[in-house]
């Protein structure tokens, strides 16, 4: 075991730092949805032009083909430099793209991957349904095969960026009468196809960036199926294992910045003299350090064996709950100022309210605990 980085990795870190120092925009990500989309696309294009998009993606699709360690170094420096949140490019860059790399045909990859990296194509996710949340295999949205087309009927919900997306990673039932995990397919759905209706949903934070999507006989080419017809569960799970491995490194790195900011604020306001606050901040600082160590350990495992280790399912759960503890600490330090919050404010209250998603979206904390007990400890499956 060795915590030091090689001279080549240190050199790479210096390059990241220098570029970010010169290029991170002074302007904050706008609150207005249309302005935010323009901002996100322009920033992604700038990253791509300078060679910082898709650091560990294959070079043939516009990536850099570098190691996962270099990806981590980039994300650490990105957080240190206070660079903008990836915003509307999140699903394409962190979810759809990696799924395509693992499962898509050459033609699908050649078309979509460069567009994702250049910030030209915005993606959204279509997994959850009103009746299929934690029980994702209960998906009812159907795709009927007619000639070389798929005709889609049904509805998806909790879809972030649906109103601005060009494409959707959509999991639906393509085999009539199939049950549970069988008969599902993972398809690329064009969001501008006739028959798609997007109704935005206002969150308790006041934002309207997520939506319910309705499909009324939407026709898409059968060629848009990824990884084979009725193989959708396996394709979807390949992304989940990616998420549990490296998909949340950016969040993890951000948390170490956040705890230092909270500590600094507590020092300046004198709140650190409060024993209870000092104790909690000390604990948070230890936990954030351990999260970094756990991430490094997981990355090392990927480098050594090509697979994330058993602890990767733990990282996901721990990060989400630690994020919420940090948001609550920010709230505690702010005191009764939080009562002035109004819809449209983008501050720590909005972050706290948004942050409830961390233990709900992409598998609730309870589902994560089931997975840990069953896969790590071998306890019997209750579902």
């Amino acid at each position: 075991m060795d915590i030091t980085f090689s001279p080549a990795e240190q050199q790479f870190r210096a390059e990241c730092r220098d570029w970010l120092h010169d290029n991170v925009p002074d302007q904050r990500r706008p609150m207005d949805a249309a302005d935010a989309l323009d901002f996100d696309k322009a920033w992604q294009r700038r990253l791509f032009d300078a060679g910082w998009a898709g650091i560990n993606w294959p070079t043939e699709y516009g990536g850099r083909g570098l190691s996962i360690v270099q990806q981590v170094i980039w994300l650490e420096e990105y957080a240190n430099a206070n660079a903008p949140w990836i915003g509307a490019n999140f699903v394409g860059v962190n979810h759809g793209g990696p799924t395509l790399i693992l499962n898509a045909s050459d033609a699908q990859k050649a078309y979509h991957l460069p567009r994702i990296l250049r910030g030209e194509a915005i993606w959204c996710q279509g997994f959850s349904e009103p009746g299929a949340g934690s029980d994702l295999a209960g998906i009812k949205t159907r795709g009927r095969i007619e000639g070389n087309e798929l005709v889609i009927t049904g509805s998806k919900i909790w879809t972030s960026f649906a109103h601005v997306a060009d494409w959707q990673e959509l999991v639906l039932r393509t085999e009539e009468g199939s049950q549970r995990h069988k008969g599902l397919s993972w398809v690329i759905c064009p969001m501008h196809a006739p028959g798609i209706e997007v109704r935005t949903i206002r969150k308790m934070s006041g934002q309207t960036e997520f939506a319910q999507v309705f499909y009324d006989d939407v026709r898409i080419p059968l060629d848009n199926v990824v990884g084979g017809l009725c193989n959708g569960w396996k394709v979807a799970m390949s992304t989940l294992s990616f998420e549990r491995g490296t998909g949340f490194i950016a969040d993890q790195v951000k948390q170490s910045e956040e705890v230092e900011e909270l500590l600094e604020r507590a020092r300046q306001t004198g709140a650190l003299k409060d024993d209870r606050i000092a104790e909690q901040l000390a604990q948070l600082r230890a936990e954030v350090a351990a999260l970094r160590a756990m991430t490094y350990r997981n990355i090392s495992q990927v480098v050594r064996t090509g697979q994330p280790g058993a602890e990767s399912s733990v990282i996901r759960l721990f990060t989400s709950e630690l994020g919420q503890r940090l948001e609550r600490m920010a709230l505690l330090l702010a005191g009764d100022d939080i009562l002035d919050f109004r819809y449209g404010d983008d501050n720590l209250v909005a972050e706290y309210l948004r942050g409830f998603a961390a233990t709900i979206a992409g598998g609730t904390a309870q589902i994560q605990r089931d997975i840990i007990a069953e896969r790590l400890l071998g306890l019997p499956k209750s579902r």
């Binding site: 060795d2 915590i3 650190l272 994560q368 400890l377 209750s382």
Partner: protein, 301 residues
């Protein structure tokens, strides 16, 4: 950067685990054979990082986590630190001083066969010679003989600040092992014990108690690895990282031990069953090289 054990370390771990499984069953921790210490010496576990041994703290932490999982003798910690910083061979007992200051009462753990005891005085490692006939009776931790010295004898410092960090790191390694043991004991019992015609581990309420134990283990173990690497690398943040490892390892050991009693139900409250051995060991470990909050907050001078 590599935070996974290398091939050599993996073989150290598996050799240790195998030996412990054969010779150091956890449920026998109250009646270890008298010759155990000589066996531990013969296996080379009493001074792995002593001068001339050419072994790093990372390997040492890995091996001690395995030994800690079996509630191995507590003097392994103090003996390792004394061997490394005072070059002193032989068994060294562990001393806990009253509030880290000389003058008051000193508790000495694992004294039989030891010529000296090592403790922390104001955060610095220090040793004192022991009366040759000092024995002891089990206290809260039923696996360790405890004796009292009152008034405290004078202690002489060994090593620099790193010797104190070394003790904290190794105590964290023992606590990680103790947390692992409680996690595994709870999970095994949850698979075995049936109520309502099914294993109790089928129920989410029980399952999630076990998952939370697993999370605490992974968190503490990861930080232990980083902390050991930081001490090996002479990293300026080593004191913080070792303190963080100790903090999280102590919490994991205590919380997992309590969870293990709860999962066991009635039998978990008995003297006969093993869960209380982990619980009591966890309490003892939390008093060894305790964590200073100012170091965790990055405010230490």
């Amino acid at each position: 950067m590599d935070l996974t054990p290398n091939d050599e370390q993996v073989s150290f771990i598996s050799a240790t685990a195998k030996w412990c499984a054969d010779n150091l069953p956890l449920d026998g921790a109250r009646s270890r054979p008298p010759a155990l210490w000589q066996q531990l010496e013969a296996m080379g576990w009493t001074g792995m990082t002593a001068p001339g041994m050419d072994l790093d703290h990372a390997t040492e932490a890995l091996v001690l986590a395995e030994l800690g999982r079996h509630l191995a003798p507590i003097a392994l910690l103090s003996t390792a630190v004394t061997a490394r910083w005072a070059g002193q061979p032989g068994k060294t007992a562990l001393a806990l001083l009253d509030k880290d200051l000389t003058g008051g009462l000193v508790r000495v753990f694992d004294a039989p066969g030891a010529t000296h005891a090592l403790g922390l005085v104001g955060g610095l490692a220090a040793i004192t010679p022991l009366p040759s006939d000092l024995g002891g009776e089990p206290g809260l931790d039923l696996t360790v003989p405890l004796a009292h010295l009152d008034p405290a004898p004078p202690f002489s410092p060994i090593g620099g600040p790193d010797a104190g960090l070394h003790l904290q790191l190794l105590a964290a390694a023992f606590a990680v092992g103790c947390a692992d043991a409680a996690r595994d004991m709870a999970a095994e019992y949850a698979k075995l014990r049936e109520q309502f015609d099914r294993p109790i581990g089928w129920f989410q309420a029980l399952k999630h108690i076990c998952s939370d134990s697993a999370v605490r283990c992974e968190v503490a173990r990861s930080q232990l690895y980083y902390a050991a690497g930081a001490l090996d690398a002479g990293d300026p943040g080593a004191a913080f990282h070792i303190a963080a490892a100790k903090q999280l390892a102590d919490q994991a050991a205590l919380e997992n031990a309590r969870a293990n009693v709860q999962v066991h139900g009635g039998i978990g409250m008995t003297d006969e069953a093993a869960p209380h051995l982990c619980l009591k060991r966890a309490h003892l470990l939390s008093f060894i090289a305790p964590v200073r909050r100012d170091i965790l907050l990055g405010e230490a001078a």
